[in-house]
């Protein structure tokens, strides 16, 4: 294993120091990342968080039009309640705070504990669970939260920026999640710095289908195939769960180790699949946004837009990881 780190134990801290040095728009304190300018009176505060290793998610999405604070945990480990409590108090502008939580047992438990313990701040929370690879049943922890997290953060962030009340921001956040589906495919395992070796072994002629974002193995293995075939597998899984029609926001997301060039190849296939179903790619995003360290592979996330959501997507955003309109 070769990694650009000082020590595995200081990785998160060192990376946050780098973020602070690179982005004067951020302020970082006690492993929480804030907008430098602090909370705005009357605006709903948005707090998200989760394990590190998914950069730019979440810390890279702190800024105008998106999050007010992000709580990064250790690599692939949910943050602890202290961070979340601290962040929630700090970003409250008197209008309450929305917790954006990916549906993992760890994230859910730590955010729940924090929400119980934080006092004097009205807290609502939205659970993101967009991954169609996992059956949502009594026999699983429910669908994972993956790529749609970015959509929720962006659109809820835009709405909060406009001054909408907490209940409305929470409602729209939930709506974005409900209208979103994801599916991920890995070509290689990632290597966590503490483990020091790949989480799983994957032969050269196989891929993992239905991966999450913690470098965990997927639901099944399949033979390695062309970009066209792999894109079709992901899109069929999504389309089977939520038939594609109308205007779509489509993200082809890299897992961290896949060249942008290849993500564009996948996007071309995804776009032609969408067209083939009579739907329309009306907004898109191609790049490394919700990653799993150095894993090679991609995920597709689709959100069915309406006019209101399109407007929220298009609204100005100014964060290290996503920026337009300012």
């Amino acid at each position: 294993m070769k990694k650009l780190i000082n020590t595995a134990d200081t990785l998160v801290e060192d990376a946050l120091n780098g973020m602070a040095a690179a982005h004067p728009s951020l302020r970082i304190r006690d492993q929480v990342v804030y907008r430098a300018e602090g909370p705005r009176h009357g605006k709903v505060g948005l707090v998200s968080g989760g394990g590190s290793g998914h950069e730019p998610l979440h810390a890279g999405f702190v800024g105008y039009g998106m999050l007010d604070a992000a709580c990064p945990g250790e690599v692939f480990t949910s943050p602890v309640p202290d961070q979340i409590i601290e962040a929630t108090r700090a970003v409250d502008g008197g209008a309450g705070v929305l917790h954006i939580v990916k549906n993992y047992t760890g994230d859910v438990l730590n955010f729940e504990m924090a929400a119980e313990l934080v006092e004097s701040v009205e807290v609502a929370s939205v659970l993101v669970d967009d991954d169609v690879a996992v059956q949502d049943s009594l026999y699983t922890a429910g669908r994972r939260g993956t790529g749609a997290t970015l959509f929720v953060e962006k659109m809820a962030g835009a709405l909060a920026e406009e001054g909408a009340p907490l209940a409305e921001v929470a409602r729209v956040a939930g709506e974005v999640d409900e209208r979103s589906r994801s599916f991920g495919i890995a070509l290689s395992s990632c290597t966590t710095p503490h483990a020091g070796k790949p989480t799983f072994d994957l032969p050269d002629n196989q891929v993992e289908l239905g991966i999450g974002i913690h470098g965990e193995p997927g639901r099944t293995r399949a033979p390695m195939a062309s970009a066209r075939e792999l894109a079709a597998i992901a899109m069929e899984a999504i389309h089977g769960d939520m038939p594609l029609h109308g205007d779509l926001l489509v993200m082809v997301n890299g897992m961290g180790g896949t060249p942008l060039m290849e993500l564009y190849v996948v996007f071309a296939e995804v776009a032609s699949f969408v067209k083939g179903k009579g739907a329309r790619v009306s907004r898109s995003l191609v790049g490394n946004y919700v990653t799993s360290l150095d894993m090679q592979g991609f995920s597709v996330t689709v959100c069915r837009l309406d006019d209101a959501l399109t407007r929220l997507w298009d609204a100005p955003v100014e964060t290290p990881g996503l920026r337009w309109g300012r």
């Binding site: 394990g51 945990g73 250790e74 690599v75 692939f76 480990t77 949910s78 943050p79 602890v80 309640p81 202290d82 993992y104 047992t105 760890g106 438990l109 730590n110 504990m113 690879a133 996992v134 059956q135 009594l138 026999y139 699983t140 922890a141 994972r144 966590t192 503490h194 483990a195 989480t199 799983f200 999450g212 913690h214 470098g215 965990e216 193995p217 639901r219 099944t220």
Partner: protein
Amino acid sequence: MDTMDTGFFVAWFEEAARLVRRDRDRLTELDAAIGDADHGTNLDRGLTEVTKALAEWPPSSPVQVLSSAGATLIRRVGGASGPLYGSVFRQMSKALDTPVTLAGFAAAFDQGVVALQRLGKAALGDKTMVDALTPASRALALAVRDGVGAREAFEQAARAAAEGAKATIPLQARKGRASYLGERSVGHEDPGAASAALFMAALATAAA
């Protein structure tokens, strides 16, 4: 050993920290197979903090040891296992009567396991730490009923936990990250059950 004093509880967590440090890579490898390869690191980080806190602010009662350990695990581990283990010990601290008899310990421990299940909603057989902690709790209850001594009781609990952990191997996970794997989770020991067995082994050693 008729009653368990503060030193006993401190020894318990120190030994647990030692065992988890020793088996850190094994726990992480178990988690790599059906999870995200962080369980050993998570728990090692947490228990290192627990022993540090116990050394810095020496507790004056068993209840303090448990509440300090519970709070530290919640505040330092993160992930699923942090709040879950933290709740076990926090609830135990609330339910514990002093002086601590074996019967009192067993009852409080059972309350801890109940709190864990309330929080995590995992049932026996879901392939989680519950599968090691529930048999351990049952073993303690039986030992109390049968009037077995503490040392022997803790050894029986440790054995039950170890067997419970091994028995997770053929199961399909229904809770936590491993549940995402569906049938592929079969054939692997649950990392949280394995670490729970270490907690119970530490208990037996502390009593020895």
